[in-house]
Amino acid sequence: MQKASERLGGELGAARLVLRITDITDGGESSFDIDVDGQQSRYIHLHEAGRTLRAAIGFKDAAYPHAVVMVARSNVVHTPPGRPSNVFESTWTGPGLWPTMRGYRRGYATVRKTTTPIDLFWDGTVSAFSPGYGKKERGN
């Protein structure tokens, strides 16, 4: 707050408190701001799955609309992938794999296998577990 006060000086009172959400997925960096004043909800609707994000709270001066004087920054969070993975290489572990062991984890052997996932309507889950589907009840 002290730094923000020094940077903005007399403008601090007129500056808007904003939450800047920065998408840093795959090394990129794009952001959008949410005005904190007047917000009724305490959560943010995100429209894309599988993102890596960081939030910062700070002041935005009307004279420099693209700059935010940061007060605090969050840890990095990852949103759920929202779709089946495109990674197919599989690692298996368990006591039965001792004869073919390549290494140890928790007393088990680990082997890599090349296997094809079972035949399933995999992408059906994308619509089933995304907004606008289903009923509002537990276990549905």
Binding site: R42, S90, K136, G139
Partner: protein, 548 residues
């Protein structure tokens, strides 16, 4: 029996929020427990007894959460249940008299006299009021695998940004399990199937081998699981196994439109004499003089419209339908494993978790459906067998390693039931009060007994505020003021206790009142959050056993 080509795990999640109000002679929301005992828990135990008597081979998995186990073993609530069921027997007898000139309804009134008398007999004479002990016996006999759950069914993904209270919910939940069932649990029911890393690591620290999750926890896991949801995966950092719900079998039971419970021959839940009969007549059986369900219902669903014309319930017809539905369910699982087995190097596992209270309470015929299903699987086919997730892991311990996706079994599959406009306000209070309490605990050195008691009660109050039920109820249209009050009251109690501890002015009378009222986990000790030896001078950490 020849080796099956597939397995099925039916998992019943039994949970109710901790509701106990000794400060009132009767309390409307205490009925949730009483209705569940009459409609669900005793009918399920009766089914188990019948299967045991007939030597049917069956395996089932159940979670009985700590709040439910605490209520079921609470003498005050046990006494109130006996009073409640005796009141219902009295009402059902009056109904027999009232309907004596209407034979079709009269035979249903007789059915309720028998049903309620049976419930009382089982509760008092057979189980000596201890239903937890009754379920534990089926575990000891090798038919039931009872798994642990979080202390007060806290919604773990949103509970605490630093995971201290997530760990506390898990640790205290497992300690409560150990005290109720006398053994180490193999599995853990994550409340609302809410999974996010690093919960699996916290479970591994407590010796848990597996947890259950929603379908997309596995379907969206990385890398893509070879067996989809038809076999477990091991979490990479913990080695704990994650099982996931099969969408197809769940839908056949859960779906409000296509599911079995909506069949027109089944009993209509929404037509209850608490609403249908003259107010003055039913008033003595209503709590707080408010019209509500009493438990005597004379109609069948009849058609798609709840408000429309309803025909009288026909128990024989409904039972026949339950048998048909059990056969249909089994047939579909046989088709499913036929299809899956050809693609897998082992028999597939179909995991079918349900709220236990669906069986008997919402779906009156549910326990009998389960009874028919267990018998049909045992004798009418050879392709599938019932198994528990723990047994499946023993049989097939080599599994793929993959990171499950964060997920829940709520609307849309993530957190939005428990974080929305009606309930988002609770989290900042839960988080800040949790921080405050840990800070106070960290500052206390060599506390006198009354301060220890105050800290223990503060933990109980916060745990009770953390129950996922309050946020869930706030997101619906009924009982919202009660859920808001419970959240505010417990948080207020916790904060006031913290203040009193810091100010060194613990009000012992008020503390005793709270201890008497919110008496969950009487064995709880605040040293669960400290290095007990240094703080108390005692050797053993009294709250949590080190090994099980």
């Amino acid at each position: 029996m020849t080796d099956p080509i597939g397995y099925m795990s039916i998992v019943l999640h039994a949970h109710l929020p901790y509701i106990r109000h000794p400060e009132h002679p009767t309390f409307l929301e205490e009925n949730w427990l009483f209705e569940a005992i009459t409609d669900c828990y005793i009918p399920l135990l009766t089914v188990f007894k019948g299967l045991g008597r007939d030597a049917v081979p069956w395996r089932l998995t159940m979670s009985i959460t700590p709040p439910l186990a605490s209520m079921l073993t609470d003498p005050l609530l046990q006494e109130r249940y006996v009073r409640h069921i005796e009141g219902l027997i009295d009402l059902a007898r009056r109904e027999v008299e009232r309907t004596q000139h209407d034979p079709a309804v009269n035979r249903l009134a007789h059915m309720y006299v028998e049903r309620f008398s049976h419930a009382r007999h089982m509760f008092v004479d057979v189980y000596d009021r201890n239903l937890v002990g009754a379920f534990a016996r089926w575990q000891r006999k090798g038919h039931l695998e009872i798994i642990a759950s979080a202390a007060t069914h806290g919604f773990l993904p949103l509970l605490d940004p630093t995971d201290d209270w997530v760990k506390a919910q898990i640790d205290i939940g497992i300690e409560a399990y150990y005290r109720a069932f006398g053994q180490q649990p193999a599995g853990f029911w994550l409340p609302e199937c809410g999974y996010a890393p690093p919960m699996d690591e916290l479970l591994a620290d407590r010796g848990i081998r597996y947890f259950l999750s929603e379908s997309h926890a596995l379907l969206h896991a990385v890398p893509r699981p070879v067996h989809a949801v038809y076999g477990p995966i091991y979490c990479p950092r913990s080695g704990v196994a994650a099982f996931a719900r099969d969408i197809e079998s769940s839908k056949q039971v859960w779906s409000a439109t296509e599911g079995y419970p909506g069949d027109f021959d089944y009993r209509e839940f929404y037509r209850d004499i608490g609403y249908d009969l003259d107010y003055d007549y039913v008033r003595p059986w209503l709590k707080a003089d408010v019209r509500s369900n009493i438990g005597i219902k004379y109609f069948r669903i009849t058609g798609p419209d709840h408000e429309g014309h309803k025909e009288l319930y026909n128990p024989e017809q409904a039972l026949e339908k339950a048998a048909q539905h059990a056969g249909n369910f089994m047939f579909n699982r046989e088709l499913q494993v036929d299809h899956l087995r050809s693609q897998m190097d082992r028999p597939p596992l179909i995991v079918a978790p349900y709220d236990a209270e669906l069986f008997g309470h919402w779906w009156f015929e549910g326990p009998r459906w389960l009874d028919f299903l267990a018998r049909k699987i045992a004798y009418d086919q050879t392709k599938i067998a019932l198994i528990t997730p723990g047994d499946y892991l023993n049989k097939f311990p080599d599994n793929q390693v993959a990171q499950p996706s964060p997920s829940t079994w709520g609307y849309n599959g993530y957190n939005e039931v428990w974080l929305e406009g009606a309930n988002d306000w609770i989290y900042r209070h839960l988080h800040m009060t949790g921080r405050r309490l840990l800070d106070v605990i960290g500052r206390v050195e060599w506390p006198p007994p009354v301060v220890r008691r105050a800290l223990n009660q503060a933990i109980r109050e916060l745990l009770l505020a953390q129950s996922s039920d309050w946020a869930f109820i706030m997101s619906t249209d009924t009982h919202v003021p009660y859920a808001v009050k419970r959240t505010q009251d417990h948080l207020g109690h916790c904060r006031e206790l913290c203040r009193q501890v810091v100010a060194n002015e613990v009000d012992e009378n008020w503390l005793a009142t709270l201890e008497g009222r919110n008496n969950i986990f009487p064995w709880l000790d605040y040293t669960v959050f400290t290095d007990g030896e240094k703080r108390t001078g005692q050797k053993a950490a009294p709250a949590l056993s080190a090994t099980y």
